[in-house]
């Protein structure tokens, strides 16, 4: 079938403001939206710019707003967003980050806030000589959920707090990545992370809108992880 992609275009070298341009593309319902974008780029308009890499939802390159919702283009099938011939699917870059070009946003600020939580194992325990630290399956399970994060920034775009109420909010992904370590039995870095987390721009900026959880392409219960982190900091 043929669908129309209405894609937000912006080239800082030539455009003063973003605009939408439409492309008719031949697709199968089971094609990925990424396939449709690539067909536009390869055969209609080589100037269209977007990121892609793994093509199956594990590298986090191609998060964008498809049909009004943050999704990965490679993990969204055409049939998820279009069911009839000629249907128009709107594609836009993520919000809350500056557009570099077309569907590409500058994720620098997103990664800068992620770094604030010290997203690496911090331990004051001695490293065992020539073997692993022990950890029970239950202890391992306690932080399983946030290990799935691919830092695609979909949640950062969807978070309503960042819409205006508090643009300096550290963001859902950073807190989920803090939770990844805070609930790891091998980690003793809570106090090192507290300055970034235990403040109005940290966990307390979250108001439980659940948009991060709704859009997370990895199915992480982001809001729950934020609330667990709040409880750990408060207690």
């Amino acid at each position: 079938m043929t669908i129309t992609l209405s894609i937000q275009r912006f080239n800082p070298e030539t455009d003063s403001a973003p605009y939408f341009r439409e492309y008719a593309v031949q697709v199968e319902p089971t094609d990925r939206v990424l396939d449709a974008l690539m067909r536009v780029k390869s055969f209609q308009d080589g100037s269209l710019a977007f990121r892609k890499s793994c093509g199956h939802g594990v590298c986090g390159s191609d998060a964008m707003i498809i049909d009004g919702k943050e999704r990965l283009a490679c993990k969204t099938l055409v049939r998820d967003v279009a069911s009839s011939e000629g249907q128009v699917v709107r594609i836009q870059p993520l919000k809350h980050l500056p557009v570099q070009r077309d569907l590409m946003v500058d994720q620098g600020e997103f990664f800068a806030r992620w770094r604030l939580v010290k997203p690496y194992l911090i331990s004051d325990q001695p490293v065992p000589e020539g073997r692993e630290r022990l950890q029970s399956p239950e202890q391992r399970l306690a932080f399983e959920d946030p290990t799935k994060c691919i830092l695609c920034a979909a949640c950062f775009s969807a978070c309503p707090i960042l819409d205006g109420k508090n643009p300096r909010f550290i963001g859902p992904a950073a807190i989920a990545n803090a939770a990844r370590f805070v609930f790891d039995s091998r980690d003793t870095g809570l106090s090192a992370r507290r300055p970034a987390l235990d403040q109005p721009d940290g966990v307390w900026g979250c108001e439980n809108h659940f948009e991060c959880t709704r859009v997370c392409p990895r199915g992480i219960k982001v809001t729950k992880n934020i609330n667990l982190t709040k409880r750990r900091l408060g207690g």
Partner: protein, 579 residues
């Protein structure tokens, strides 16, 4: 043009590049240059595990792991490499755990291990549980852990910089030229040591598990600078890609008990590998699947090469699948609309891994010739390199081992090397060739679009240099590739801007793939035997008499020149390879 001087520059931010950077940066100013943000690197897509003889759940020894690696590689493995790989794998896995990698655990709290293809107890007796895993996201966790450590150690990163040229002065590395994608600006990096860790090049095939970024930039750039490429005819087809898409379904599914079945529901591996069955090495299983398809036992039964078979995990039960193979279940739901706990998965072989690449010694130093002369200050590690630890066929889990073992060794060697080395001089206009090439791509002439050429290359490679090969078809492939390379010279960018001109990037990547496809086809056509991943219908036997040797291929203006060098057989004598 911006100029930079570092002691060490690493190209590529996957597992090998990051591990090397961690080691090198302990004593030397180190920068990592990558066309992707490090978190997007393809190491993150590895699923099933990293092999190491920890013996956490049953008896195991590094010596068994080394032997399996040699036999799995059909004896084209350099055996000291395999011994180092297996010995050091144990330390590497503990190191990753100590750095925070969240491995799955045994009830006793140790790193859990599962079965994987070709990994056996006592030289082939039965499958052994050797693969250390973190659910089916082991590569994701390795990439995350190494990047986290680089952040902690403040390694300098140049993200989204595409390398255009590697500068050599005689037999010494001098630096590289890179394009900053966000601005279109050229950068010159001078360094005492360069390490290439640019990953694989499966994008040359129609059906592949590889990322779009896996275009072999490092090997292609070096080949153009006169460095030979080793064993390029050996490309692995993983047996279980999702039908049509090529997305990887980990061997871990079979490690947990999954079974391959044909249209009649028959467990056909009983006929091909009576001992290891569904856990035989990948080359053997991919060929078995093709045999079933060609015999009319595929799902459709039409004997066409794009037919498929089934991977059945329904008997494993939903709880096990969701706990140990959650991403696989998710891929099936997303792309196939099925639950693997309820229905078998439709699968077919998918181009997965380059055993060949840039020849290196055990410390990652790039070798310039048959005699093994190193190029001073030039290193390679990971999939783009060939240390030769995988020989003619890589065992599952050994790619991740390769990254962390040889990435680390290269980083350590570099740290020592740069102490006594100085910057090599670079020519007056060393960025000239790269600048001219970019200008040519944007000179406004009308040319064909690269997209069409890419599609044709992928079909040629899949059909004529794929799982089964024969002389006449490969001769035809070589002609078609030569024609494509000719047409490629007329390709021009459609995009006039400088900011994120991905059109130029993709044209450059296509050029790399075309060069490597030519080298692959030429190396394959010359090797008149079948060994590991190189299976010739016209030469079905392994021929140790004539072909127990490594191929070296030089890309030259008139075509590909071939040479050969010996295999390190210092530990085990070659035997027939049965499972």
């Amino acid at each position: 043009m911006t100029r930079h001087e570092y002691e060490v520059v690493v190209v590529g931010a996957g597992g090998a590049g990051l591990y090397a950077a961690l080691e090198a940066s302990r004593g030397a100013r180190t920068a990592v240059v990558s066309k992707l943000h490090p978190m997007r690197s393809h190491t993150g897509a590895a699923q099933g595990g990293i092999g190491a003889a920890l013996g956490n759940v049953e008896e195991d020894k590094p010596e068994w792991h080394a032997f399996d690696t040699v036999k799995g590689g059909d004896y084209l493995v350099d055996q000291r490499s395999a011994v180092i790989l297996a010995d050091d794998a144990v330390r590497a896995v503990y190191d990753l755990e100590n750095r925070g990698l969240p491995f799955s655990r045994t009830p006793q709290g140790k790193i859990d291990q599962r079965r994987f293809g070709g990994h056996t107890r006592n030289h082939g007796e039965a499958p052994v549980r050797r693969s250390c895993y973190a659910a089916d996201r082991t590569g994701h966790m390795i990439l995350q852990t190494l990047y986290q450590q680089c952040i902690k150690n403040e390694v300098a990163f140049f993200d989204e910089f595409q390398v255009l040229d590697v500068l050599l002065e005689g037999r010494q590395a001098a630096g590289l030229v890179a394009l900053e994608l966000s601005t279109g600006e050229l950068h010159l990096f001078r360094a005492k040591a360069l390490l290439l860790a640019t990953g694989g090049f499966g994008q040359m095939f129609r059906t592949t598990s590889n990322a779009y970024a896996n275009t072999g930039d490092g090997p292609a750039l070096l080949a153009r600078r006169g460095v030979p490429l080793q064993d390029m005819e050996f490309f692995q087809f993983h047996p279980t890609g999702i039908r049509g898409l090529g997305i990887l379904i980990t061997e871990g599914v079979r490690g947990e008990g999954g079974i391959l079945r044909n249209r009649r529901g028959e467990r056909f591996m009983e006929r091909y590998a009576p001992t290891l069955l569904d856990l035989a090495p990948r080359d053997l299983i991919s060929r078995a699947i093709m045999e079933e398809i060609l015999a009319g036992n595929g799902a459709r039964g039409d004997r066409r090469i794009d037919d498929y078979v089934f991977l059945d995990a329904t008997h494993l039960g939903k709880p096990l699948i969701e706990a140990k193979l959650p991403d696989i279940a998710e891929f099936c739901r997303t792309y196939l609309g099925l639950d693997p706990a309820e229905k078998p998965m439709p699968i077919q072989p998918t181009a997965h891994y380059a055993m060949g690449g840039i020849p290196t010694d055990l410390d990652g130093r790039v070798l310039a010739d048959e005699a093994g002369t190193p190029i001073e200050g030039l290193y390679a590690a990971g999939e783009c390199a060939c240390v030769s630890v995988h020989g003619a066929n890589r065992l599952g889990t050994n790619s991740l081992v390769d990254l962390v073992v040889f990435g680390r060794r290269a980083g350590q060697h570099i740290a020592g090397y740069v102490k006594g080395a100085s910057l090599a001089p670079v020519g007056k206009d060393s960025a000239g060739p790269a600048r001219e090439r970019l200008a040519e791509l944007k000179d406004g002439k009308k040319g064909p679009h690269g997209g069409q050429l890419r599609e044709r290359m992928r079909d040629v490679m899949m059909e004529k240099v794929g799982i089964y090969r024969k002389g006449p078809a490969m001769a035809q492939a070589l002609e078609e590739l030569a024609a494509l390379r000719q047409e490629y010279r007329a390709v021009r960018a459609q995009d006039a801007s400088r900011v994120f001109d991905n059109d130029v990037l993709e044209i450059l990547e296509l050029g790399h793939l075309l060069d490597l496809a030519l080298v692959t086809a030429a190396s394959a056509q010359a090797r008149t035997e079948s060994r590991g991943g190189h299976a010739r219908e016209d030469y079905p036997q392994r021929d140790d008499q004539r072909w127990l040797k490594h191929t070296l291929a030089w890309l030259e203006p008139g075509g590909v020149r071939l040479g050969y060098k010996g295999v390190d057989l210092s530990v085990w004598q070659p035997k027939p390879r049965t499972y």
